[in-house]
Subunit: 133 residues, 2 copies
DNA sequence: ATTGATGCAAAGGCTTTGCACCACA
DNA sequence: TGTGGTGCAAAGCCTTTGCATCAAT
């Protein structure tokens, strides 16, 4: 997908990338669609899915696969950890240095070839905590 | 779900639990269904889903939410890390001690209340590695 | 007997895809 | 002007659910 690609920068693709870069909320495809259609009413959900897929295949954005049913997307392509609220599903970044030594440690114990690792925290976000009390 | 539950140990539920405890392959609901129907041809996929859900809600088994579209299940309810093959999707355990200090470290950096953490490794399993070469 | 569980099939949620038309390069 | 992209709608995949019937307690 990356090599030999003849990607065109359409207005839709450009807007999708632009809007994703504005937020840190790790939106789902449908979250994006709801925002995008305000600025481009005729954009289709299929186009949003297709572009998010292409942009993440190309490495321009990142697809994140935290628990829950929907995939989420992130314009920050650096390796970083996430935390998900078990109540509302919201996802936020955890700004800590990735523990690369986890990979070396695990590599001694598995016969898989380790390529990456992901850490996901599960917790309760401030908003949901407030509602609970 | 746990408190005040009046669960019946039906033949289906018993078999589902029994078969899940036999394997370490982290099967999907459909994987389970394919195995179960050999021993109980009339069992329905809905029953498999319902029971895996109930058993994990009750804490008797664990639902695991590694990347990919399908949920997987594990009779081992201890906290442990998983590795997923990026080619075939297979999931295996990584037998290392969980790094509980990751939670304390992250807690300093987020205003979420951290409850758990998960580590997922992504790699290539021995079988797929063999096919590549 | 009571009522939770099952089998079946239909419906639901999220995502992908076929197709004719459109618009970047 | 060639071909990748779009909008639309249909289809696909996984999972949940309504309902009549069954069976565990």
């Amino acid at each position: 997908m990356i090599a030999g690609s003849k990607l065109r920068m359409t207005k839709q693709r450009q807007l999708i990338l632009e809007e994703l870069r504005k937020v840190t909320s790790h939106p789902t495809a449908d979250d994006m669609y709801q925002v995008l259609r305000k600025k481009m009413p005729k954009i289709s959900l299929g186009t949003v899915y297709r572009n998010l897929e292409i942009l993440s295949d190309t490495g321009i954005i990142q697809k994140i696969d935290v628990g829950g049913t929907q995939k989420r997307f992130d314009a920050d392509i650096s390796t970083h950890y996430h935390i998900r609220c078990t109540i509302c599903g919201r996802v936020a970044d955890v700004h800590m240095e990735p523990h690369m030594e986890l990979e070396a440690e695990a590599q001694k114990l598995t016969d898989y070839e380790i390529l990456h690792h992901r850490v996901e925290y599960i917790g309760i976000c401030p908003e949901c905590r407030k509602k609970q009390s």
